[in-house]
């Protein structure tokens, strides 16, 4: 029994790696079940916005969280562009604006949206809470130009955007506790609807905000991204990872069971010996 507790960690690493790799090599695809209500709520909210409405996409994560959040960002951008919504991207995290550029450069042209007309990347501003609060007074006051140095008043996409009252929805894509900041300072204070796309690690922390309707919806990790991709009928990177995810989970469950069998077995044996 104690042998089970002494499995070389490298065996686990190799098996997990194989579980992730094989579905890609075998081109195995698994469709997730019905989308979670929290994902569907984001989709429905964006789906009901009138054409021309502006949504704000906050890229509050760095490259370390890219695999989970980048597919979400791409799916939301695609959905917004197809619905003729204006997309205003910005970042509270220093590297976020570069990741926003990547997503926009890929999805914009593919969906027939033009930079400056349909979407803009306003870039990073330091100061978290101060940035969120000040945009309640004036968005051009905080972001006077985009990442390319164009003054916002010259960008058609920013026409008529003064503060949160002109924003139909804020989607915070986050790998740290920024959704709480957006909820407390943008939603509670200025009553702008906020949704969040988060890494799965943060899910338990943010479901209470969804349950209390302080968040209109919640995309949870790669699964949330895959669900959204299927909702907009554009399976992409998120959906491609689902098979690997499921097999890796199965491997982990097996190891959890083995570990517990080993642990309780060893404990019983020690008791008997005593």
């Amino acid at each position: 029994m104690e042998r089970l507790l002494r499995i070389d960690r490298r065996v686990i690493f190799v098996l997990i790696f194989a579980a992730v790799l094989v579905p890609f090599l075998a081109n195995l695809k698994l469709k997730p079940g019905a989308p979670s209500p929290s994902t569907r709520d984001v989709y429905d909210f964006i789906g009901k916005l009138p054409a021309g409405a502006a949504i704000m996409l906050a890229f509050d994560y760095g490259p370390a969280s890219m695999p989970e959040l980048q597919p979400m960002a791409a799916a939301i951008c695609r959905h917004a562009f197809r619905r003729d919504l204006r997309v205003i991207c910005l970042a509270l995290s220093p590297q976020g604006f570069l990741l926003a550029d990547r997503v926009l450069a890929e999805t914009g042209p593919q969906e027939g949206a033009a930079y400056g007309e349909d979407y803009v990347n306003l870039g990073f501003k330091p100061g978290y809470t101060a940035v969120v609060l000040n945009m309640g007074q004036s968005i051009p006051g905080v972001y006077s130009q985009d990442t390319k140095g164009t003054p916002v008043e010259r960008l058609p996409v920013m026409r008529g955007i003064r503060n949160y009252s002109d924003i139909a929805l804020i989607v915070d894509l986050a790998s740290s506790n920024t959704p709480a900041t957006w909820v407390a300072f943008a939603h509670e204070r200025f009553k702008v609807p906020v949704a969040a796309g988060i890494t799965a690690v943060m899910a338990t922390e943010y479901y209470p905000f969804y349950q209390s309707k302080q968040l209109v919806g919640l995309l949870n990790g790669l699964k949330g991204a895959a669900e959204y991709e299927y909702l907009i009928e554009n399976p992409d990177r998120g959906a491609m990872g689902m098979a690997s995810q499921s097999i890796a989970h199965a491997v982990i469950i097996v190891f959890v069971i083995l570990g517990n069998v080993g642990y309780f077995g060893a404990r019983r044996r020690r008791r008997v010996t005593r």
Binding site: R9, A64, R162, S176, H187, E188, K191, V201, T204
Partner: protein, 434 residues
């Protein structure tokens, strides 16, 4: 010769000057009427009347003004129809005798049946005037907003009256937002509780239940000393303003005082330069208090980088190379917690964690020997330091929890068992924002 030339020049210049002043109209008249000359502009069409500005009673923040007006009393010029009104905002002090500033920004374009509008996005307590101009378009056309400047008319041949300005008024928000009273009451109540408990804590010691994880601290110090290995202390990855970082620094102070006696080094890699300087100060004082100022080595508290995973990579390296006998993770942690705790556990060190980052607690609980969960971290710092301020804070929080408990019980009875009072209670808790 030169004098004559000069005279000629003067005469010529005088002639030109006189000619331009007196002769040119005559000359123009001499040419007769010119068919290409544009006709003099027609007088501007009639403008609206009775333009009045008033504060919007619904405006809480003081950034809106309401403007009303009446239709022009005179008939529209021939061939034109009244198609709407355009609203201008004039900012800034308007004193008598001072040249009036030109209209600052064109705000809105409204349809002719509208005789009122709200101008928003103003700054509170600043002087504004609102001006209204009537817009006319050729008969048979509809008013079309300009695609570039939606507040202007795009119709060719559209004409505008002179803007008629209102009196000066400053929007003023409400000093007191009644719908936020519940927030005020809770904030005040809690402040009073904390102030009272601070007063009490200064006068007498207060009971805090013993916290299991703390007993392990001494074991960890003993083990490190026996093995002659350092202790690694991570004060979280948050800034100086984070309460978890402050609590962590107090625990570090306590730990340093204990280790100073045995001259066991405590390595403190830092992510934030401010936290680093405060930690140096705390550890130096701890060594002084322990009577071992010479054993304080500021180089043990060092800055690594402010990048999350860069920091983790460096700390993992320290764990594997220097093999500390005990690892402390106290403070706010994010995605790096499991990586740190995992690596630490592979080195066989005693690991004690404490964090208020709920999402990271599962990893510390599984990978560490002892974990202070959430508020236990604050409680531990109060317990160890016996600082009246911290004790009072802890007591204040406990009283806050009692209040919350009572509120939930009352809520259970009212919401679960009644309809009218239940709705009233839920409304009481409703936060309507500012």
């Amino acid at each position: 010769m030169t004098t004559i030339r000069c005279l000629r020049v003067i005469v010529a210049l005088t002639a030109v000057l006189l000619g331009s002043t007196f002769l040119s109209p005559a000359g123009a008249q001499g040419k007769g009427p010119d068919a290409n000359q544009p006709p003099p502009p027609p007088p501007p069409p009639p403008g609206p009347t009775a333009v009045q500005v008033s504060a919007n009673p619904e405006d809480k923040r003081g950034n809106e003004l309401r403007v009303t007006w009446q239709e022009p009393t005179e008939a529209p010029p021939a061939g034109l129809n009244l198609a709407g009104y355009t609203i201008y905002l004039l900012e800034g002090p308007f004193r008598e005798g001072r040249k009036q500033k030109p209209p600052k920004r064109q705000e809105l374009l409204v349809r002719p049946e509208r005789l009122e509008a709200t101008v928003s996005d103003l700054k509170p307590w600043r002087d504004y005037r609102v001006a209204v101009a009537a817009v006319y378009v050729p008969v048979g056309e509809e008013l079309m907003p300009d695609p570039v400047v939606p507040s202007a008319a795009a119709n060719e041949g559209a004409r505008e009256s002179e803007p008629v300005a209102s009196e000066t008024l400053s929007p003023a928000g409400k000093w007191f937002k009644r719908e936020m009273s519940n927030v005020l009451v809770i904030s005040l109540l809690y402040s009073v509780i904390v102030l009272l408990t601070i007063g009490l804590a200064r006068r007498r010691d207060m009971y805090v239940r013993p916290i299991a994880g703390l007993r392990a601290v001494d074991d960890a110090i003993g083990r490190a000393t026996e093995m002659g290995r350092p202790i690694l202390y991570i004060a979280g990855l948050s800034g100086i303003g984070d309460i978890a970082t402050i609590a962590s620094m107090l625990i570090l102070g306590h730990l340093s005082k204990r280790t100073a006696a045995y001259e066991t080094p405590v390595l403190v890699p830092c992510l934030d330069p401010l936290v680093m300087s405060v930690e140096r100060e705390i550890v130096r004082e701890a060594h002084l208090e322990a009577g071992k100022p010479e054993s304080y080595n500021p180089d043990n508290i060092f800055y690594v980088t402010d990048s999350q995973f860069g920091y983790v990579a460096a700390v993992d390296g320290i764990m594997l190379r220097q093999r500390p006998a005990a690892n402390f993770y106290m403070g706010a942690f994010f995605a790096e917690s499991l990586i740190l705790a995992e690596t630490g556990s592979t080195t066989g060190a005693i690991q004690i964690a404490g964090t208020d980052s709920d999402t990271q607690l599962p990893f510390f609980i599984t990978a560490c020997d002892y974990t202070l969960m959430g508020e236990e971290l604050y409680a531990a710092s109060a317990y160890l330091s016996r600082d009246p301020l911290l004790l009072a804070q802890l007591k204040g929080q406990d009283l806050g929890k009692v209040l919350l408990f009572v509120m939930l019980l009352v809520g259970l009875v009212l919401v679960g068992f009644t309809t009218g009072p239940g709705e009233w209670f839920l409304k009481l808790l409703e936060a309507k924002g500012g």
